[in-house]
Point group: C2
Chain length 256, copies 2
């Protein structure tokens, strides 16, 4: 399915990552979203047991990772380089959000051109000279109160938006019953009103908003045909029970 | 700023989490996005050193966490309950994506009504009977190849969409220079063309597409006033250098 989505021209570049665990968690986050190409610039711990542990089923992403000795090497063949940045910089750079980052990346990918999305160190992010190798800076919106995301979490959000913006339809579960038709619903409303009158809950001469409210409620539910049958069966059962029990007093309508 | 955004009526519920580290990472992910209310249903390890370690600066979220003995207790006062679900269920339930989840949650929050977003166990998610306590199921789109997100990563994505859909504007860095005007640009293009002719790179009698291409390029850059001054200064320097060095041969225009 990753191939169907076609993220082949997109790479995630992690610069001078300190903790192997973060590399593994990033690899898992990537694979969850169908991104498989990982570049590591001077990782402190790699390969490592922690990386493998946190990658869980994304060991193939770690095995395929390209280790580079400079950012320049990691992005040399890229037509679009987007650097993650949390801080304001001395020289402002075009700043985009993860949605726009995904749009630009997908457009490049569609054209068959390489894109790198670059993530900095856990504690200090990317250096200014690294950020000046980027076409754009991407900033993940936060509450402002505590804006420092874990590295792998940032990878997760950026890669999630790639899937999100690629317009992959949600794997909607098909409903197990066909929906009720407008005619079904109107028959049901007639039956419901008759039954409300029969049990003395509804006075057609003084209807207030009762039927309007009930119609609105059942339209909101958007019932399927089986649900409609269940409700109709319930009303029929009430009809029979009420006609037999002629001694039953009308219920006082105190609700409306 | 979390207060400004007003996520006060939104809680994250983690059901029977096995690993304290995941609770801590979830707390950090929440706080990064301005969500502060954490409910824990029968956590296996809590409080724990791993939770505190992974929470980093979100210790207050852990300290404020409400530990419950059942899901029913954790969601009792909620008007909207959304359960995370990766798997197809026997009885299909209304399935929404994280964007719609955020929209529905923000709408409730705006109305002052409580919403719970419920996350299941690391290995098995939510049980069917738990999912049947939900108005909606939310599914994070994945590549399909490896769809099992880490628990805290799922919390991160869902909370990120809350910020994203709340329409909080990107903290755009103000550009440090005002943009160049159309007139500035036209003066520059005239100066550029004169200079191209002067150095023999451009023949106005045989212009081909040169100026069109250069105009398009500079419009795309959308230069600011200082950049315009720098470019104009550069052209003036070329003008002076070229007029003094009358022996310079015209450069052959082989580019176009």
């Amino acid at each position: 399915m990753a191939e169907v989505m076609g993220f082949q021209k997109i790479r995630i570049v992690l610069v001078e990552t300190s903790h192997g665990g973060n590399i593994g968690a990033a690899a898992r986050a990537m694979k969850n979203m169908g991104v498989s190409r990982l570049y590591l610039v001077n990782p402190a711990e790699f390969p490592s047991a922690q990386a493998t542990f946190r990658a869980v089923s994304a060991g193939d992403v770690l095995e395929g990772a390209v280790v580079c000795s400079s950012l320049a090497e990691a992005i040399a063949d890229c037509s679009l380089v987007i650097g993650t940045s949390a801080r304001e910089r001395k020289i402002p750079w075009p700043l985009i959000d993860p949605v726009t980052c995904a749009e630009k990346t997908l457009e490049m990918n569609h054209q068959g051109a390489e894109t790198a999305i670059v993530f900095g160190r856990e504690d200090r992010g990317l250096k200014n000279e690294e950020l000046q190798n980027c076409h754009y800076h991407v900033n993940i919106p936060t509450s402002g109160d505590y804006s420092s995301l874990n590295l792998a979490m940032a990878v997760q959000v950026i890669c999630y938006e790639l899937v999100n913006q690629s317009g992959l339809p949600l794997p909607q579960e098909s409903w197990d019953q066909p929906p009720a038709s407008a005619e079904d619903l109107n028959h049901f409303f007639e039956h419901l009103e008759r039954t409300l009158v029969q049990v003395g809950f509804h006075d057609p001469d003084n209807p207030r908003q009762l039927m309007s409210r009930l119609r609105r409620l059942f339209y909101r539910i958007n019932p399927d045909q089986m649900e409609m049958n269940i409700l109709r069966g319930f009303l029929t059962a009430i009809n029979h029970a009420s006609s037999q029990d002629t001694a039953a007093l009308p219920v006082d309508n105190t609700k409306e």
